[in-house]
């Protein structure tokens, strides 16, 4: 499979950092440390592509999404969309930028206000951004677009199933005709048969509306299906980024290899031949990440060099896609 031609760069993120302070005391708060949730992330999102961001819980992928939505203020870094920096934007400019970048949340049960009808929920962004015209007609159109019955406009979220609620969340994100949609674990809370319905919907919308997605998920088979490029995060950093093929077939970072090998394959015949790389231990605390390479405490290749020198995310000899490992090498046959 050859890498598909990439579109125009749409969003360039560079040096994104978010440190949450750890404080002690109530009246006299003193800062005793910081959780380095996102610690220097760079990537480019191209027009019409789906960029997957995968990693274990606590690696900072959801914080990254919030930074791009300006739901959290970044400690440092820039995210340039259309010549304007989302991180530094204020007032009217920020408001205009927010119309272009929308988000679909993980949990369809808590991300919809139970006291509002789905019509009001989907119309809310239109009201906030002062979009005139026939809002009712627009909401009906959106409901139809996401495969819900437009006549259900006056129903409440509890009258819908999980998959249908996620469709409401998607309709809300589409209301302002955004360019980019950030999907934070959009299908993790759904059953397998419903998951496939929502994934198909997201792909259909992308083809029809020319959307670009940042798709955050921990399910690697879903990411593989929907994404053009994939970034693997570990402890606040991207450790490897490349096309779907480069990551799934020719990964050079040991963490990516371990992550891929651990995915259960839905084929009982594969269990005898699978070569699972067993990582020991847990992810270190982001408040106190290891020196040098952050993965070295769980890595079987680690040497003194890894403790001293932080490996940069650059193209490696083993395969010409960026990988943050001093000893980047392809593993033989991780998964079929």
């Amino acid at each position: 499979m050859t890498a598909p031609a990439l579109g125009e760069p749409l969003l360039s993120v560079s040096g994104m950092v978010k440190h949450f302070p750890i404080t002690r005391g109530i009246l006299f708060r003193s800062r005793i440390g910081e959780v380095k949730a996102v610690d220097g992330v760079d990537f480019v999102l191209h027009k019409g592509e789906t960029l997957g961001i995968v990693g274990e819980s606590g690696c900072g992928k959801s914080t990254l999404a919030k930074l791009l939505m300006r739901l959290e203020e970044a400690t440092a870094g820039t995210a340039v969309y259309d010549g304007r920096d989302i991180v530094a934007a204020k007032g009217g400019e920020l408001r205009r930028l927010r119309r272009e970048v929308q988000m679909v949340m993980q949990d369809p049960y808590t991300s919809l206000n139970p006291r509002m009808t789905v019509g009001d929920i989907i119309a809310e962004p239109l009201i906030i951004h002062g979009v005139g015209g026939d809002r009712d007609a627009r909401v009906r159109e959106l409901l139809d677009l996401v495969g819900l019955n437009p006549e259900h406009i006056n129903r409440y979220p509890h009258q819908f199933s999980g998959g249908q609620r996620q469709r409401v969340g998607i309709a809300r994100a589409l209301a302002l005709n955004p360019e980019i949609i950030i999907c934070d674990e959009p299908v993790s809370a759904l059953d397998v048969s419903i998951q496939a319905q929502v994934i198909n919907l997201l792909e259909k919308l992308q083809a029809e509306l020319g959307l670009s997605y940042i798709f955050i998920a921990h399910d690697l088979s879903v990411v593989r299906h929907i994404c053009d490029r994939v970034a693997v995060m570990y402890l606040g950093r991207i450790v490897e980024i490349g096309s779907e093929d480069e990551i799934y077939q020719r990964a050079t970072h040991p963490y990516t290899q371990a992550l891929l090998s651990a995915v259960p394959v839905p084929d009982p015949d594969a269990r005898e031949h699978r070569n699972v790389i067993r990582l020991t231990g847990d992810v270190p605390s982001p408040a106190n990440p290891p020196s040098g390479c952050r993965f070295r405490t769980r890595c079987w290749k680690a040497t003194d060099l890894c403790a001293q020198e932080d490996p940069p995310l650059i193209p490696r000899e083993a395969d010409p896609h960026p990988s943050a490992c001093h000893f980047a090498a392809q593993a033989e046959h991780i998964i079929d």
């Binding site: 499979m1 274990e56 819980s57 495969g147 199933s161 998959g163 059953d191 397998v192 048969s193 419903i194 998951q195 496939a196 319905q197 994934i199 198909n200 919907l201 792909e203 259909k204 921990h218 690697l220 088979s221 879903v222 593989r224 299906h225 929907i226 779907e244 371990a258 992550l259 651990a262 995915v263 259960p264 394959v265 839905p266 084929d267 009982p268 015949d269 594969a270 269990r271 005898e272 699978r274 699972v276 067993r278 990582l279 020991t280 847990d282 079929d336």
Partner: protein, 359 residues
């Protein structure tokens, strides 16, 4: 994982006894019915579930939310919330003895000692105000009558068994001081305290990351081999099932709609629901294509459709499916499927009556 060939022979032998001979299996659920009486009507949660388990084997119970897979386990353990839950029919035979008619004292003797359970969410299943050591040793003190010190020593052994590092030092730690994977190990240690013959694991890795999930599934497989424990693995993850199970029972709307040996089921499902589930997993050769989906939603259990409960979503639906509940058909080699056209689905000769669903 390897070394499953030895388990295969166990299944062959164990499935030999006839259906009337209850003594053949370690644990057998026969025609179980459970309903939940709620303000909105009676939800028929379990509608005639039968399955069996033999020593040392792993049975996976697969189903989506609301299919009744956890409720069956709760009925076996005798921890069903009642009200609203009521067992309205059937038998649960453990070593030939019906647990449903047993006295509460007899059930207590089985619970934990013979059949133990690992719960899904270790953070809410563990008590946050007691230390881990105290919680693991509790059963040993209360049920085995060990002294506090002996029970704690045994707890350290159990923690070593489930590979919790520095067990002795961590006896005094509280659940919140453990990571998700370590908490799940504590749960496993607790369930093994009295060396049960059967362990029911209810979605043991659902809340965990893949690398930790692999560690826990390995641990369960090792323990099963070492202690020869039989396991019922309740899950919705088709990948996990393929990795560890010997047999699978697929549940839908409170019924087992297909039951087969794991290799046979993945190779060629005999029920349209199983087929739909397997098709809806993203695979490599699907890249860029639309995923095959199962249209619609699982039924509301207070209003289960007439005939086959899957008929409103089935691609192969025929008139008979809307009127008659399909009986479980035996397809040979220990395989059953509750579909009027199971043989045709298995052979792949049945023509769909509905087109692929729209988005």
């Amino acid at each position: 994982m390897g070394k499953h060939s030895t388990d295969q022979s166990v299944i062959e032998k164990a499935s030999a006894p006839g259906p009337d001979d209850g003594g053949g299996h370690l644990l057998e659920v026969r025609d179980l019915f459970v309903e939940f009486r709620t303000g909105e009507g009676v939800a028929k949660v379990i509608n005639g579930v039968s399955y069996h388990l033999d020593a040392g084997e792993t049975l996976a119970v697969l189903g989506e939310s609301g299919s009744g897979k956890s409720v069956t386990a709760q009925a076996i353990m005798g921890i069903l919330d009642s009200p609203p839950g009521f067992v309205t029919g059937g038998q649960i035979l453990y070593k030939g003895r019906d647990l449903l008619t047993a006295s509460e004292n007899e059930r207590r003797a089985v619970r934990g000692k013979e059949i133990a359970m690992i719960f899904q969410d270790a953070l809410s299943a563990l008590n946050p105000v007691f230390t881990v050591g105290w919680q693991i040793s509790e059963t040993l003190r209360k049920r085995e009558g060990l002294s506090k010190k002996d029970a704690l020593d045994k707890a350290v052994e159990l923690m070593d068994l489930v590979k919790i590092p520095a067990a002795r030092e961590r006896l005094k730690a509280y659940p919140h001081q453990f990571s998700g994977g370590m908490r799940q190990r504590v749960m496993i240690a607790m369930s093994l305290a009295q060396q049960p013959k059967v362990v029911i694991a209810d979605e043991p890795t659902t809340a965990l990351d893949v690398t930790v999930q692999a560690q826990i599934m390995d641990l369960l497989a090792d323990l099963r081999r070492e202690l020869n424990t039989a396991m019922i693995l309740i899950t919705h993850d088709l990948g996990v099932v393929a990795d560890v199970a010997d047999r699978i029972a697929v549940m839908y709307a409170g019924r087992i709609i297909e039951h087969a040996e794991v290799h046979a089921l993945y190779k060629s499902p005999a029920h349209p629901y199983t087929l739909g589930l397997l098709n809806s997993i993203p695979r490599l050769d699907d890249k860029g294509k639309t995923l095959r989906t199962i249209p619609g939603l699982p039924p509301n259990l207070t209003r289960i459709p007439a005939g086959c409960p899957f008929n409103p979503r089935c691609r192969y639906v025929r008139d008979v499916c809307r009127t008659d509940v399909p009986p479980s058909v035996s397809l040979g080699e220990g395989r059953d499927a509750a579909c009027h056209f199971a043989r045709e689905v298995l052979a792949g000769t049945l023509e769909p009556t509905r087109k692929d669903p729209e988005l």
